[in-house]
Symmetry: C2
Subunit: 79 residues, 2 copies
């Protein structure tokens, strides 16, 4: 089953991160786990700017390291 | 055939953007075209910070709008 906080991500990135609701949002399915962890932490710290960072800074601030690990593992394994 | 400047991208993101040489670099194959265009322009303008932005700012500065369009079209269509 997906990690607890996956429902929040699904709202914009779609089921398994494969169907973002907007073309300017990235697909997450099958993405590199190390990239997802690094980028979520960069959004969480506020270091990540540009693109949709305002939205993502707010979302990532609610994630613990364990949440990030679980979400990155989940999405990197999605087809 | 891939766009002219694809060889530069391939150095880090691999063939068709599917095999990045480091886990912290993103896969590009099948990514949303609108996302790729928005992010490349955000790197080019220097607005995009965090992650590997230093590397990508330098790369994106060498791209014209047409290059970005061609690369985003190419990578979004890769399996």
């Amino acid at each position: 089953a997906p990690p607890a906080k996956e429902a929040v991500c699904r709202a914009c990135h779609g089921d398994g991160g494969a169907k973002p609701i907007m073309d300017v949002y990235p697909k997450l399915n099958g993405q590199n786990k190390g990239y997802l962890v690094a980028i979520l932490k960069s959004y969480r710290s506020g270091e990540r700017k540009g693109g949709q960072s305002a939205v993502m800074n707010a979302q990532a601030k609610m994630l613990s390291d364990d949440d990030i690990e679980a979400l990155a593992t989940y999405y990197s394994s999605q087809k």
